[in-house]
Symmetry: none
Subunit: 158 residues, 2 copies
């Protein structure tokens, strides 16, 4: 596997694990992993990989790997099989909202319930969304830290 091909797989793993909204942002992440390239090269890489740029609720725009490719890669890693399907976590008041890929909310909710976090008063899952309610007066701080551990690639506010 040559350097360029290696880099492709790193690029893929980065944009699959966190929302990346510009090539410059991705260049920085690549540098952290030991891959130093210029923006022009990255542009050509993304073109070669058929990576699309899509408007995104929070981040403005993000890069995504089109479906067929994603599906192909989807079941390559077996660990963290469940939390990988979490796409976003946010809070509003004492409610936490977990977004997952379609159909995964239930599996993720079961996982959360099994963790028995003391702050969580209850959870409820739809198809791709989970609400969990915090006990009154509980701070988010600890639970945010715990959830961060669970999915290191998701940015949880505060």
């Amino acid at each position: 596997m040559n350097k360029r091909t290696q880099r492709f797989s790193v690029i893929r793993s980065i944009i699959e694990s966190e929302p990346i909204s510009s090539q410059d942002e991705l260049i920085i992440k690549l540098k952290e992993q030991g891959y130093e390239i210029t923006q022009g090269t990255l542009s050509r890489d993304l073109k070669f990989m058929h990576v699309a740029k899509v408007p995104h609720r929070e981040k403005g725009y993000i890069y995504v790997i089109p479906d067929q490719m994603a599906a192909h890669q989807a079941d390559t890693h077996i660990s963290s099989l469940i939390t990988d399907n979490i796409t976003n976590i946010s809070f509003s008041g004492n409610i936490g909202i977990v977004h997952t890929k379609a159909g995964y909310a239930n599996a993720v909710a079961v996982l959360l319930e099994n963790k028995r976090y003391p702050e969580i008063a209850g959870t409820i899952a739809g198809d791709d969304t989970i609400f969990f309610v915090l006990h009154e007066g509980q701070s988010r701080k600890r639970i945010v830290r715990e959830l961060s551990k669970l999915c290191p690639n998701i940015v949880i506010p505060q």
Copy 2:
């Protein structure tokens, strides 16, 4: 249907019927159909419509409408069939509660999610009830107005 909304549907039909590889190209096509706008406006239109730019074998890059968006567009004209099944809307704190006829909660929730109201952090549906959570600090005012439009016959508090 206002001017902007009309334009959206023209944009959609253009990029669905032929490969468009830049906004300037699309501006020309729009002009041919009687819609004259600047590049900045088009950029915002495409963002709002969640149109993605994807590398393409022959044309370099083309604009595409993601699936979900297509689905959204598809059911706008049957949306009143769905909202007719809402029986009540109320609020408690930053949670909105929508009651529907039995079995309709899911269909209504999907509709709500497709609307992408910026105030709504997430929704979750049971059989005849939907909870939706507002983002922190967001006022109910605008969302109440929007929901009122959606179902003119329901009285929403405040």
